[in-house]
């Protein structure tokens, strides 16, 4: 708990100091005659600095930043001219839908393949699956997304190129709208699911291999239990616990992959928003995305750690 609070506080502090510490940052650019956003006029520069509170002590600025943050104020988007929290709130449901769908698609596949592969370690099926998933796991996801667009959206024409729904479509009922959203979701969710499945598979397989030498399997075999029962009811169940940690790590994978996949498919989630904010130099939104995504990853790991303690008494202090 204490370490979780420390990490979140560290992220919040990083988010405050990075723009003020790095050269070429938006704030120091105001003072730099060589930068494109240099404010030449002395009095208007002072006015701008006063507006952003830059003329005050760093400590003062920091406490104001913390106070605003506690009240859910992350600043105002330069591009949308709206509160950053509002912009993030508009985009977050799309990311949750995309990541949630991909996880649902991937978890079963990755686990079953991992159990099967680990149980038959070193055999042909294992070697084939291992090579396949290792390649997928390391395949740059933005390139995979581009291949998917080219093959399935352009050449075969079975899925839309980009976006999350058909623009300007006349709403013809709830069902049609759901179908439209699902139709746009299929391709990006599949690409994301491949990444998740590969990760899940690798951990499940390693964990399954770890169970192979266990005494309880020898005993089970000695008392005449069938292969299927040993594999699923005994080994797989015990191998499941380490893969719970994966659930937490998956959020880290999800954040990275979502930034790339949403960008490649122009899917209107938080990842795409971060990309857009970079292109638009919309620094408040960029920082908001950083804070939301990194706190999500840290929180997921914290929750998994708590769940772990409940499920496995050996890890409790």
């Amino acid at each position: 708990m204490a370490s979780y609070v420390v990490v979140v506080f560290f992220l919040i502090t990083l988010n405050f100091f990075l723009p003020r510490a790095l050269p070429g940052a938006p704030i120091s650019a105001l003072d730099d005659p060589r930068s494109e956003t240099y404010v030449g006029d002395e009095s208007s520069r002072i006015a701008v600095e006063n507006y952003y509170g830059l003329d005050r002590q760093l400590g003062d600025q920091y406490t104001t930043y913390l106070e605003d943050l506690v009240q859910g104020d992350l600043g105002t988007s330069i591009r949308f001219n709206a509160p950053v929290t509002e912009v993030l709130g508009d985009r977050l449901p799309w990311t949750l839908l995309l990541v949630g769908t991909a996880l649902a698609l991937a978890t079963g596949v990755g686990m079953v393949a991992g159990v099967h592969s680990g149980w038959r370690r070193g055999r042909r099926a294992d070697k084939g699956l291992l090579a396949l998933f290792l390649a997928i796991d390391n395949f740059p996801v933005f390139f995979l997304a581009s291949i998917a667009v080219f093959v399935f959206a352009v050449k075969l024409g079975v899925f839309p190129l980009s976006g999350a729904r058909t623009p300007f479509s006349e709403s013809s009922g709830v069902l049609a709208e759901i179908a439209d959203v699902a139709y746009h979701l299929a391709l990006p969710a599949t690409v994301l699911a491949l990444q998740f499945a590969a990760f899940q598979y690798l951990v499940m397989r390693a964990s399954m291999v770890g169970e192979l030498e266990s005494d309880y399997l020898v005993l089970g075999r000695a008392k005449g239990l069938g292969d299927r029962a040993l594999k699923y009811r005994y080994a797989a169940r015990n191998a499941l616990l380490p893969s719970l940690t994966v659930a937490g790590l998956q959020v880290g994978v999800a954040v990275t992959a979502a930034i790339f996949v949403e960008t490649a498919f122009a899917y209107p989630g938080v990842g795409r928003l971060m990309f857009e904010s970079v292109a638009d130099r919309d620094y408040p939104v960029m920082q908001g995305c950083f804070l939301l995504l990194s706190v999500a990853v840290v929180t997921a790991n914290f929750v998994v750690e708590l769940a772990y303690r409940r499920l496995d008494p050996r890890t409790s202090p």
Partner: protein, 276 residues
């Protein structure tokens, strides 16, 4: 060592070796200056331009050949930096024990918890258009905590071995112990982590360039991909197959090759299947 002869090792080593050779021989191999306008824009592949030209009339094959150099530079620099800091902190903490160790590991835990890509995007965007060296430095700074943690736990084990105790008994100093016993004993682990981070660095460099976060005048695989994909209509002509596909394949082969090599080099009979 049977592991060294595994198909994983050979496929990884062949890919990495070939790409390293291309990077080294770039001036000899590339038919044109990658930045020079060497033909009309968007010419499909032909005898004069094996992979055609981009929208500015630059030879795509030459850009990919020189891109290997940019990737190699970032891979070596970023992995070198991450390993140097990681080994320094890891070995230092493992040897010092006590409060130094405790403080170092708390710091490592905090840094490890921060997801790399959002942080790299924020830093790269705040730095402004960055060349390969700046990109390599920020990737290297993101990579050290993971290495420090692994190296420390291994260093603790090595430091407890009999021959280290014996050396200490004969009056060996700390620096001597580190140079003579600890680093050689950790060699295979350090090598595997170096290769693993080289692969991660290539993927991250390309990813940041794909997101438009590298200097646009820089010749790299990721910037070729970024330029191609932001060209309107790239999907609707044959351009995708000779502009996007080769650049994507170059990145994929390098990343997969380095990842396979890292796995094959990983010490221990039950290779930790990655990501710490």
């Amino acid at each position: 060592m049977s592991r060294a002869r595994s198909p994983l090792f050979w496929s990884g080593a062949t890919l990495v070796g070939t790409l390293a050779l291309i990077a080294m021989l770039a001036p000899v191999l590339s038919p044109y200056d990658p930045r020079a306008v060497s033909g009309p824009s968007l010419v499909p592949p032909s005898g004069a331009h094996l992979l055609g030209t981009n929208d500015a009339g630059q030879d795509i094959l030459s850009q990919l050949i020189w891109g290997a150099r940019s990737s190699a530079l970032v891979a070596v620099l970023a992995a070198g930096l991450a390993v140097a800091i990681g080994v320094f902190v890891g070995v230092g903490a493992g040897l010092a024990r006590g409060w130094v160790d405790a403080v170092a590991m708390r710091v490592v835990d905090v840094f490890l918890a921060v997801p790399a890509l959002p942080l790299l995007i924020l830093v790269a965007a705040l730095l402004g258009p960055s060349g390969p060296i700046a990109i390599a430095v920020i990737i290297g700074l993101a990579g050290w905590p993971a290495i420090a943690r692994i190296v420390r736990s291994q260093a603790l084990g090595v430091a407890r071995r009999g021959y280290v105790d014996a050396a200490r008994g004969f009056g060996a100093g700390r620096l001597y112990l580190v140079g003579r016993h600890l680093v050689p004993a950790l060699g295979p682990l350090i090598a595997a982590n170096f290769v693993y981070w080289a692969g991660t660095a290539v993927a991250l460099q390309a990813g940041l360039a794909f997101l438009g976060l590298s200097d646009p005048t820089e010749v790299s695989w990721g910037s070729v991909l970024n330029r191609a994909l932001s060209h309107p209509g790239v999907y609707f002509t044959s351009e995708w197959t000779w502009w996007v596909l080769p650049a994507g394949l170059a990145i994929t082969l390098a990343v997969v090759g380095l990842a396979f090599l890292a796995l094959a080099l990983e010490p221990g009979s039950n290779p930790r299947l990655r990501r710490s």
